[in-house]
């Protein structure tokens, strides 16, 4: 998946984001590609039964 620079610029404009020039948009691409590739992996993962909970629990044996 890849998002055109124009879409990213529209997001910055409409959501009051942090400005990025065309050159800077290329510099942030590797991080965005990481984001998109991880999203692709999640497409087949069913998270509907994942319950929230406390971050940590004490083990029963202690």
């Amino acid at each position: 998946m890849s998002i055109p620079n124009e879409t990213l610029k529209a997001m910055i404009r409409d959501y009051n984001g942090l400005e990025l020039s065309d050159e800077e948009l290329e510099l942030v691409r590797p991080e965005l590609e990481t984001y998109f590739s991880e999203l692709t992996k999640l497409e087949s993962l069913d998270l509907s039964d994942t319950l929230s909970g406390r971050l940590m629990q004490l083990p029963e044996r202690s």
Partner: protein, 477 residues
């Protein structure tokens, strides 16, 4: 005893000598400061060396001893503090130009606890800009150099601390670990790096940090010293809601108990998938050594680790929220690596952030189930030994991986999952590669089982091929 010999000792060895007044905290601190000054041009491990404050603390420490007021094993011990830990009245830069002149009003809670335990603060240690990376190649304060090979990174983001403990300048250093930033300097600098359970140590006073998964932990020269440091740091902080009010055991009582009957889990996926061959050989050797010591090997599977990369999504969003106030007014003061790794977080959608948190929960549950079947897990701490400072990429099995900046994260692939799940993990040296650079092995236990973690790590440490090895750059050399 010559100063060099003093500075090469561990806290466990020094403490009784200080208590018995065989060693003077003033002389020890003078020796540590002298070596800090001598090695600073080579290692660049400090942002601020606290000459006057350290000597004042040392004199107070000696005075307390003469009155019979011994405060415990850290009494009179020179240590270092990462420069993202708030120190009242002392500049705390977080490795940034933005906060170059920032002077906090109060100490971080961990600084208070170390001070109360009698530790002496030698200096504020160099780190990655805003602690956001694994190299400690800081664009504003210069790169930290690895004492085992000065052309190599010490790991990060707590690289100054790792370099100082390895070189013998400090006896321990406090770092912070959001994705491996204590354990990676541990492995690359050949010292012990601890990230305890999330909630075990207060984060109050850790500056410009994430909302999810940061920890403050010690780097030390031995597992026994790590136990002594955690003893001083651990415990509920009523002013930090992330801490958990559970009892703190006597960690040193777990040392020397051995491994007989303990079940050692070796993950069959993720942690051994992409490794430098010398790292894999060293860690497989550690597994064999642990079996020799009586641990029972059991292969374990962690299938949800396939999705661990999703944690980067929530980290991106958290990062931009953390930095937004600075980015709006001081963007020009950022180095490019952190700037262009942070800003993309503004494009993360809320639904994807929520998915990322659900994945975190899924993976946590899987680890907790596995930890019901085994006593501890063993993995390589990092997939490689320390890369060169000038390296932009490292190549493993024909594939290039970024070392710093946007799209990086390969170096922390074995450490960051434990930040996501919150389990305690420790890196212990397990040998060196052909170039003489250290390699580390990581042990993991169940939540709040740091005692067991020290038991395992201490047993292994005594059999490790790293015993007796010293870096090329160190005190007296």
């Amino acid at each position: 005893m010559p100063n060099v010999d003093l500075l090469r000792m561990t806290i466990s060895e020094l403490a009784p000598k200080i208590q018995n007044k065989e060693i003077s905290p003033v002389e020890l601190t003078e020796a540590a400061l002298a070596e800090a000054d001598r090695l600073q041009p080579t290692l660049n491990s400090f942002i601020t060396i606290l000459h006057d404050q350290a000597m004042e603390q040392a004199r107070e420490s000696e005075g307390a001893l003469s009155r019979g007021d011994y405060r415990g094993p850290l009494h009179g011990i020179p240590i270092g503090l990462k420069d993202n830990l708030a120190t009242g009245g002392i500049t705390t830069t977080v490795g940034s130009k933005v906060l170059a002149n920032h002077v906090p009003e109060e100490d971080a809670e961990v600084v208070v606890r170390c001070r109360n335990a009698g530790a002496i603060f030698i200096g504020k240690e160099n780190l990655e800009e805003f602690a956001a990376g694994a190299t400690s190649n800081n664009p504003h304060y210069g790169a930290v150099h690895n004492p085992w090979g000065v052309d190599h990174i010490p790991g990060g983001s707590s690289g100054g601390g790792g370099a100082n403990v390895a070189a013998g300048v400090t006896f321990a250093s406090l770092g912070t670990d959001l994705g491996g930033s204590v354990r990676l300097p541990g492995t690359f600098c050949g010292v012990v790096g601890l990230k305890q359970s999330y909630g075990r140590v207060s984060q109050r006073g850790l500056m410009v940090t994430s909302f999810n998964g940061d920890h403050i932990g010690p780097m030390t020269r031995s597992v026994a010293d790590s136990a002594l440091m955690l003893q001083a740091l651990a415990g509920n902080d009523p002013l930090d809601p992330s801490t958990v009010p559970v009892p703190v055991p006597d960690y040193s009582s777990y040392l020397g108990k051995g491994l007989k009957g303990l079940k050692m889990g070796v993950p069959s996926n993720h942690f051994f998938d992409m490794l430098d061959i010398e790292v894999e050989t060293a860690v497989r050797g550690s597994i064999a050594a642990l079996e020799e010591l009586g641990a029972e090997l059991q292969e374990v599977s962690l299938p949800a680790m396939e999705y661990i990369g999703a944690m980067r999504i929530s980290a991106m969003a958290d990062g931009v929220v953390t930095h937004e106030p600075f980015l709006k007014n001081h963007r020009e003061a950022y180095g490019p690596d952190v700037l262009y790794r942070t800003i993309p977080g503004q494009f993360v959608l809320g639904k994807d952030y929520s998915k990322s948190l659900k994945v975190q929960r899924l993976i946590q549950e899987e680890y907790l189930q596995v930890m019901q079947r085994v006593d501890f897990l063993i993995t390589p701490t990092a997939p490689v030994s320390a890369p060169r400072i000038d390296a932009s990429y490292i190549n493993i099995n024909g594939e290039d991986h970024r070392v710093r900046g946007p799209g990086s994260g390969f170096i922390s692939r074995n450490t960051s999952p434990l930040n996501a799940v919150g389990l305690p993990a420790i890196s212990v040296p397990c040998g060196v590669n052909r170039a003489g650079l250290p390699i580390g092995v990581q042990f993991i236990t169940g939540p709040f089982e740091e005692g067991l973690l020290f038991q395992v790590a201490d047993s292994y440490e005594k059999a490790s091929p790293s015993q007796g090895l010293r870096p090329a750059i160190s005190v007296g050399v």
